[in-house]
Symmetry: C2
Subunit: 185 residues, 2 copies
DNA sequence: TACAAAATTTTCGTATAAGAAAAATTTTCG
DNA sequence: CGAAAATTTTTCTTATACGAAAATTTTGTA
């Protein structure tokens, strides 16, 4: 359904057919016909239209651009997050009441004491960041030798690379863990 | 340049023209002509092609799908980040050596002591997360009354909403600040 | 090499996209 | 309201997209 999409986008930009014609290089008559569903534009015209409208071509094919909700905010007090526990980690998902975030912050306690506790290293889409709040953390990952991080140290890495964290010191380490969402919508 | 793009995508899927024709509903002869640049397909054919190939239409228009670099990692020791300072904040960009991250972590010292120090509130695309490391922070923003956060508290919000942080207690507060990138590439 | 099968390109008739200009419609403003 | 201007739609001609089938090229196998 290109016709209504184009109508909507042109209206949103407050352009006349004449103006859009100038910006895109597509003739006024052709634009009119497209908007009335009387004509199916070719590749060049579609590319020109997207360019003239300043949108991604995907938008003309009904793909939503970015579902950015506006003005959301969420507060979590210390220790007030939703706890989720595995053998290796104790996650406290802060600001969990906000769905669809672009990245996910987790206050995490690292229970694991040895790499043996991990079967296979974790691997998934996205990127991660770790900031050490307390204690000592050793990061094991593909391609790198184990890395020890102390309070205030941080590490950013690609999640597709196998990874695992273990506590190094006397007591369980605590880190602020941030994960990006997977790439595809 | 649709022709080489289509050739590449079809080769990647190991499909013959016949097979792609069956999957997409576009005739073999038309496919051949498109791949040889002898013909500019219409809207319907383009949509059908993307569907048959299992790719986003944007790919047919030369947009890269997802440039996910694999296996990157960066380490920053406490206090070892790149410092950037404004009147209100002192940013320490950790893991700054890694370009193109999906979100940006900043260890930030909040120097501002009053909302008057901010002219206009900050407003930009994206989302942000603040985790208080030390001290007390008051978050001012559109739509909400000022919010005071103590050590261990966190807040996640939409960056398009005007926002500003000031230190509340005796000494400058320190927070771990995470910003998502702007939506469009 | 020969030969058949598969894959691709070309041919050709029909349908339709493209744009210029005319016609119709809507908007603006006295 | 009514005329002029702006905007959109229609008309008409040319160029080109589309698919079926034929022609050609490539691939696989003996």
């Amino acid at each position: 359904m290109l016709a209504p999409t184009l109508k909507r986008l042109r209206a949103a930009s407050r352009l006349t057919l004449q103006q859009l014609s100038e910006r895109s290089g597509v003739s006024v008559s052709t634009l009119s016909k497209i908007e009335n569903g009387q004509l199916s534009p070719t590749y060049e015209k579609i590319a020109a239209l997207a360019s003239g409208l300043g949108v991604e071509v995907g938008e003309l094919f009904g793909q939503v651009p970015k579902p950015t909700p506006l003005g959301r905010r969420s507060v979590t007090r210390a220790g007030g997050g939703a706890v989720h526990e595995t053998d290796q980690y104790r996650y406290e998902a802060v600001n969990a009441d906000l769905p669809g975030k672009r990245f996910v912050p987790l206050v995490t306690t690292i229970k694991a004491r040895s790499i043996q506790q991990f079967g296979e290293l974790s691997r998934h889409d996205g990127e991660e960041f770790i900031y050490v709040l307390d204690g000592e953390v050793t990061v094991h990952s593909d391609y790198y030798t184990p890395l020890t991080l102390s309070k205030g140290d941080s590490c950013y890495f690609d999640s597709a690379m196998g990874h695992a964290c273990i506590s190094g010191g006397e007591e369980d380490a605590r880190v602020l863990w941030v994960c990006s969402h997977s790439s595809l919508a």
